[in-house]
């Protein structure tokens, strides 16, 4: 899956500007895509920061009239949405794209074209969302978009639609990036890089990828339902039509809380690179640091309702979600203590990267402690939706995520550009940011305790409120000024920075084993092959040949490593993964994400199927007829299996016949479904009748849509097969990938058919 490098050799005459632009637009090089992600994130950081400053001007004085309430509401909506989806995630994916392949010694991502598509989807979604500014229909319902405020009667403008579609498009890109990253790490690790020798940054990105795969779909499902409510007249969250306002909150936070860790874990990963390198010691407790990431991810999917303690869910849910939320503090604490222990006894070099890493420890711990407060239900009841929360999560997202990403930029900029960032400017940036951030977000806690709610565009002249708000505004502008210094540093160092050399920090992971910037395909053109990988720190091992390397396996923590073969035979799950072909692996990861999308729709159906006892319900469905055309779909799983077998045997004609049979069976199913819809519509059972019809058509319709996509993929393969593209076992993987998708579509129908139709018979 190696890509052809499109970058011209340096000896050639400089390309014209148009060619350069075209080269970047058509690139599939993970490094260039990484840079484009980082640039996108940085540009939107400036936009979102500007939005924040405008809000701070408005809030500096009581009854301020700088902004109208509508504009203020739009700004906080866009600030939140932009920071999460257009700053946080692009910066994370930028680092992931650039450094995960390098850290595992790979030439590129496993699916380079898909990688490019992911980026362009993200950029397109970002532009779509911000296009709303140009047409004056900016979303103004908060980044959490609580229904029913987002429903037509309360939000007539298309702002909500821009929010839905913009975010959804970026989400599709993110899911593609996620399974691409996972498949890359599974498939393209250099020889010798066993799981416990993977650098922690890469490990954390794997955790993040899993969270993206399984958390984002519930947001996409919720957005689809909301979009249908707004434009097809369904009633998912429309209370007047029988819908449920709280259901939106469940779906949103099932995504929303893991999202916090999607943004935080990469920063923790960067910390676990930066702290050891600048302390001249290996990370303390590698297995604990890695496992704590997985534990955090697992629990982060079980805590969503701690955002909903004031909803009145009841004693038992409140307790459950309170306990799971409090538990997350433990693996998070493990990480912090590991960083401290890594520094203990080391020789600490105060580079700007390390300064940000140290600042992260204190600042993030402050946000973490107030985070525990929100797990302790009674404190949450008092402080939720006040400025106490605003202070808390900015300590986490700025003091945690942002400080980590900034440390990452100072650490890796030399690798990306070949030049070091200026350390003197870096110090100005660091101290300005540190003071600015605390000045901005610390007073917010006090304002919250004094009674200031979130998301208010102004407030009356109450004692002390203006003083604290002015402090916050000053802090915000100080942070902005420091960021300008940073921007200048990025520019001036690119032109005039000190040349970095391959490994300016004397670091130990593989990205430092190649030139700065790395050549196309990373290591191949660099002369020497990769160093042998016997521990998480291959470059340390090669400069310390006498010392026993520490392998970081669970049992080996703290002990000298055992002499090991470079490559162990993979066992168990690892063996399954290494034997599965790459397209099949990619498809499996993708459909595992789809499970959560269909899961959300199925939950909606179960919630609403009999909620309206008077209107149409499951008893109106013609189960027998549907069963008949469902048989066609179930049978198609067998025919596609036959087709694969024939292909494997080299029987081209047999392959083509069975494959076409699969297409015919799939088409019969779609025809049956259309007939069913037509019949129901003839009886007046339309999608907008009640909550049952809303959920029924959305669930079965999305399944049908997946069948149609599958049919398109089948048809493409059929066309290629007729052209003889699959002779001699070529592209068998692609056929297998499509087959896996087709089996998945079938499996989903088994569940949907049971829940929607068979249940109706009971």
């Amino acid at each position: 899956m190696a890509t052809i490098a499109e970058r011209p050799p340096r000896t050639m005459a400089p390309p014209r500007a148009g060619e350069t632009v075209l080269a970047w637009m058509t690139t599939v090089d993970h490094k260039r895509i990484g840079i484009m992600y980082l640039a996108t994130g940085t540009i939107f950081l400036a936009i979102a920061g500007l939005e924040a400053l405008l809000m701070r001007i408005q809030l500096s004085v009581p009854r301020g009239e700088f902004l109208s309430p509508g504009v203020y509401n739009s700004l906080f909506t866009m600030h939140g949405t932009t920071m999460i989806f257009l700053v946080g995630m692009p910066l994370v994916f930028g680092f992931a794209n650039y450094f995960v392949p390098l850290q595992i010694g790979a030439a590129d991502m496993v699916f380079p074209k898909l990688n490019a598509l992911s980026f362009w989807l993200l950029l397109f979604g970002a532009l779509l969302l911000n296009f709303s500014f140009l047409v004056g229909k900016v979303p103004d319902v908060g980044w959490f978009a609580y229904a029913p405020l987002t429903e037509r009667p309360f939000s007539l403008s298309n702002g909500v639609d821009y929010w839905i579609l913009g975010v959804m498009v970026t989400g599709v890109g993110s899911i593609m990036t996620a399974f691409n990253l996972l498949a890359t790490v599974i498939k393209l690790r250099a020889p010798g890089m066993t799981p416990f020798r993977i650098p922690i940054f890469t490990w954390m990105l794997c955790v993040v990828a899993v969270l993206v795969l399984y958390a984002l779909p519930s947001l996409a499902a919720a957005q689809v339902m909301l979009l249908f409510d707004r434009h097809l007249g369904t009633h998912f969250f429309n209370v007047a039509g029988g819908g449920d306002a709280v259901f939106w909150q469940h779906l949103f936070w099932f995504f929303g809380h893991p999202e916090v860790y999607i943004l935080a874990l990469p920063a923790f990963g960067i910390m676990s690179e930066v702290v050891p390198v600048f302390s001249r010691k290996p990370i303390f407790g590698y297995p604990f640091v890695v496992l704590s990431g997985w534990v955090i991810a697992f629990y982060s999917m079980l805590v969503w309702a701690h955002h909903m303690f004031s909803v009145g869910l009841g004693f038992i849910p409140d307790t459950f979600f309170g306990v799971t939320s409090a538990i997350i503090a433990i693996p998070t604490g493990v990480k912090v203590l590991s960083w401290l222990a890594t520094m203990w006894g080391g020789r600490i070099r105060f580079t700007t990267a390390m300064l940000f890493a140290c600042a992260l420890i204190v600042t993030f711990v402050m946000g973490g402690i107030t985070g525990v407060h929100f797990a302790l239900v009674p404190i949450d009841w008092q402080t939720t939706d006040t400025y106490y929360v605003v202070g808390h999560f900015h300590y986490v997202l700025f003091g945690g995520t942002m400080f980590g990403l900034l440390a990452g930029i100072y650490y890796w900029y030399p690798k990306i550009t070949g030049r070091l960032l200026d350390e003197r400017l870096g110090r100005w940036h660091f101290w300005g940011t540190l003071i600015g951030v605390h000045l901005t977000f610390l007073p917010m806690h006090f304002l919250g305790l004094m009674g200031m709610p979130r998301r208010i565009y102004t407030y009356p002249a109450l004692p002390g409120w203006m003083e604290l708000n002015i402090l916050i505004t000053i802090g915000g502008f100080l942070t902005a000024a420091a960021t300008l210094v940073f921007a200048w540093n990025l520019v001036i160092s690119f032109a005039r920075g000190r040349p970095a050399g391959d490994n300016p920090w004397d670091a130990w992971t593989l990205e430092w084993a190649t030139s700065s910037p790395p050549p196309p395909e990373n290591f191949a053109l660099h002369g020497a092959a990769l160093p042998p990988i016997r521990s998480p720190r291959p470059l340390y091992d090669s400069t310390h040949p006498g010392q026993p390397h520490g392998d970081a396996g669970l049992g080996a923590a703290g002990r000298a490593g055992r002499p090991e073969a470079l490559e162990e035979a993979p066992r168990g799950g690892a063996r399954f993964l290494s034997r599965t072909s790459t397209p099949v692996l990619g498809t499996l990861l993708f459909v595992s994400s789809e499970v959560f999308f269909f899961g959300s729709l199925i939950v909606a159906f179960i919630l609403y199927r009999t909620r309206d006892p008077l209107g149409p319900g499951p008893h109106d469905l013609d189960v027998a007829t549907t069963a008949l055309f469902s048989i066609a779909l179930f049978a198609s799983s067998a025919t596609i299996l036959m087709a694969e077998r024939r292909l494997h045997r080299g029987d081209q004609a047999g392959f083509q016949q069975w494959w076409l049979a699969t297409i015919v069976l799939g088409a019969i199913f779609i025809g049956g479904q259309l007939w069913e819809y037509a019949t129901l519509y003839g009886e007046g059972i339309t999608i907008g009748r009640n909550v049952f019809t809303s959920a029924f058509y959305t669930l079965t319709g999305f399944h049908g849509f997946h069948v149609i996509l599958g049919l398109i993929a089948l048809a493409v393969i059929a066309r290629l097969a007729l052209a003889g593209d699959f002779r001699d076992g070529r592209h068998e993987g692609a056929v297998a990938g499509v087959a896996v998708y087709w089996h998945f579509v079938d499996a989903v129908w088994v569940v949907v058919f049971s829940v929607v139709y068979l249940w109706a018979l009971l």
Binding site: G70, F315, G322, G333, M343, R347, I369, W381, Q382, M450
Partner: protein
């Protein structure tokens, strides 16, 4: 227990005040006036102790490490010992927070029980209904409706039944001690007993649209006698306008679109879309807290509500003459 708890929260409040030198800002979240709220603030205060302790430990350890192990720029210093971990130590510091969190959550559990306990049967039930951007209060016995300012007697259990007529709101008074969302299609209980008479202000805390900022809550905790007098006055329909300007104002009110949304009991105006105005003159604020209820403010409000509370679901009445506005204001102020 309660006494110590509230003592402790006063102590914390004093500490905060020192931190906010010069502001004199009251930290109302710790200044609760209901026994259940006192339980919350006492619990919060208790949790702050280990919170600061953990922060001090981590911060102290970091400071120590940074000073002690900084690179002093000396040459020929041997490389630091390459320690990869210490399994027992790591297990220990995984388990230590489990113990702390178990204790804290045990106490949280207790506090939740206290806050969520049912009201006695004789509690005064008040239905609280959130609207874009005002609060409606429905008193069950005897039945009447009022808006934006709610009165209750000190020392008697009150049961707020919180719901919404449109989008999600949230009913919060910092000095009550906790909050509950007002969700359409769902009713939430807040059971409280106010122990100190006074006027307590709060807010809607769930973003609910354009004027979320001016959806304030105002609770009057009255003495039982004051409360009975207020109840008596509220039950009565509006007194007919007597004085000529007010009478003229009443005519204007009844002839204009005011009656499409507002009710004044005792007249033909019976709509329940906007706030009930039967005893409007007795209220201290206009527009859910946006301005004080004075004749000047009221005239401005009537003429140009969109300048006072942009986005409010009420039109400007710029077509009315100054004289008409003045009469209308006179009539409304007279509805005591």
């Amino acid at each position: 227990m309660r006494l110590t708890a509230s003592k402790r929260s006063r102590w914390v409040r004093a500490l905060w005040l020192v931190a906010l030198t010069g502001c004199g800002a009251p930290l109302d979240s710790f200044n609760t006036v209901t026994p259940r709220g006192d339980a919350v603030s006492a619990y919060f205060t208790l949790v702050l102790l280990p919170s600061f302790l953990v922060l001090a430990l981590v911060g102290g350890a970091l400071a120590y490490v940074l000073v002690r192990y900084r690179d002093r720029g000396l040459r020929d210093v041997p490389e630091p010992a390459q320690i990869h971990g210490h399994t027992r130590l790591e297990i220990a510091w995984t388990i230590a927070p489990v113990i702390l969190l178990t204790v804290l959550f045990g106490l949280a559990f207790q506090t939740m029980r206290t806050v969520e306990a049912d009201s006695p049967a004789d509690a005064l039930t008040i239905r609280v209904i959130g609207h874009q951007w005002w609060w409606e209060y429905e008193y069950a016995m005897p039945g009447f409706v009022t808006a934006n300012e709610v009165h209750l007697p000190v020392g008697r259990p009150v049961r707020f039944v919180v719901g919404s007529a449109d989008v999600v709101h949230s009913f919060w008074l910092p000095q009550l001690g906790w909050k509950k969302d007002a969700i359409p299609g769902k009713w939430n209980d807040i059971n409280a007993e106010f122990t100190e008479p006074g006027i307590y202000d709060g807010w809607c805390t769930e973003f609910c649209g354009t004027q979320h900022a001016w959806m304030r809550v105002r609770v009057f905790a009255d003495s039982p006698e004051q409360f009975d007098a207020w109840l008596h006055q509220q039950q009565a329909p509006a007194a007919p306008a007597a004085q000529p300007t007010a009478l003229r104002g009443q005519q204007i009110f009844l002839q204009n679109t005011c009656v499409n949304c507002h009710a004044v009991r005792g007249t033909v105006a019976q709509a329940r879309v906007g706030p009930d105005l039967t005893h409007f003159g007795a209220r201290t604020t206009i527009g859910a807290g946006v301005v004080a209820n004075t004749p000047d403010h009221l005239r401005h409000w009537l003429r140009e509500v969109q300048a006072v509370k942009p986005g409010a679901l009420m039109p400007n009445y710029t077509a009315l003459s100054d004289e008409e506005i003045a009469s209308l204001a006179e009539y409304l102020m007279g509805l005591e």
